[in-house]
């Protein structure tokens, strides 16, 4: 059973890796220390993927959201908000489980052995709300209102918090580019400290960035209860053994709420259910 579970998780990691590779397939960027400048960057990718990553071929939706909100001529980002709404309404936090490169990084880091892994702690539930505050303050309000003389707001989440930007863009570009190396200062140091903390915490706690910080996860979570792709528990089959809640690394309980805001649709509960009471439904199954 254990072996089967592990095999299945690696299958998901395979999909995550494939997606990460596909959306970061400008390999010349890693050779020359430059970024892709083609038209594909008009389009957002669904996961948190810094557009300053040398390999990135699409735009990060959180970066794009701040860029439009913070621009002098647009104060609301209909294009990016619409994209997030469309994606969220179709698949919800499936994006977090399968289509986010930074989610994959955290998944892999959590596989590193550590004497005492922390599943939950006092204040865990309250701390999960922090990502909504970060979304409101750093992604929307600050870029909208804290503007320069030209009326432009900086991408404050990217600038002050996002460790994905440091990992995917900052470190490779600074390593590969002499002019970047000469420009680093206290902000670069701060962001590297945040990245180091995130990496350490990811070993101890499962996906700490997704649980407590990620504004993209916060947006998609709102769509989890209404998304077309969702989980359903067959109450007639369910024997109430609690295995599903026990295996959930995001601490959701599918029996209480199969489409919990924290559920990243990783499928661990489905695989663990001894009576196959949990199923995923798309449009076709709902029509039946």
């Amino acid at each position: 059973m254990d072996k089967e579970k592990k095999t299945n998780e690696w299958k998901r990691h395979g999909i995550q890796a494939l997606w990460a590779l596909l959306t970061n397939s400008y390999f010349m960027g890693f050779v020359h220390g430059k970024i892709y400048k083609g038209k594909l960057k008009n389009l957002c990718v669904p996961g948190l993927n810094c557009y300053s990553c040398p390999g990135a071929v699409g735009a990060c939706p959180i970066g794009a959201l701040q860029a439009v909100i913070g621009s002098w001529n647009f104060k609301f980002a209909f294009y990016v908000a619409g994209f997030l709404m469309f994606t969220g309404a179709l698949i919800g936090r499936f994006v977090c489980g399968f289509l986010c490169p930074f989610g994959l990084v955290q998944d892999l880091l959590h596989k590193i052995p550590f004497p005492k892994k922390i599943k939950t702690f006092w204040g865990d539930k309250a701390l999960r709300k922090l990502k909504y505050v970060i979304l409101a303050v750093f992604v929307i309000l600050l870029p909208m209102f804290l503007v320069d003389v030209l009326g432009q707001g900086a991408p404050y989440f990217c600038k002050l918090i996002c460790p994905a930007g440091t990992l995917e863009g900052g470190i490779p570009l600074v390593l590969l580019n002499q002019s970047m190396r000469s420009a680093i200062g206290w902000l670069y140091a701060w962001k590297n400290v945040l990245l180091a903390v995130t990496i350490f915490l990811s070993v101890v706690i499962y996906r700490p960035f997704c649980k407590y910080i990620c504004p993209l996860g916060a947006i998609y979570s709102v769509f989890n209860p209404i998304s077309v792709f969702r989980y359903r528990v067959d109450q007639e089959k369910c024997i109430g053994c609690g295995v599903c809640a026990d295996v959930c690394k995001m601490q959701a309980d599918p029996v209480k709420n199969a489409n919990d805001l924290e559920c990243i649709r990783c499928g661990a509960c489905k695989k663990a259910c001894p009576v196959h009471a949990i199923e995923s439904c798309g449009l076709r199954k709902w029509r039946r």
Binding site: Y79, G82, F83, A89, I226
Partner: protein
């Protein structure tokens, strides 16, 4: 009401609304702001700016 919110119909409506918002954003020219930001190295994002 809660039954309505559990129905996939809400998801489909939200997805269509999302498409309409995207179309309006593209019509307003927001895509060029996204492109301009994405094709230039974002100094803030990488911790330099």
């Amino acid at each position: 009401m809660s039954r309505f919110f559990r129905a996939p119909r809400t998801g489909v409506i939200a997805a269509v609304l999302g498409l309409l918002l995207m179309a309006f954003g593209i019509y307003r020219g927001e895509m060029s702001v996204v492109l301009e930001k994405a094709i230039n190295i974002c100094m803030e994002c990488i911790g330099i700016g």
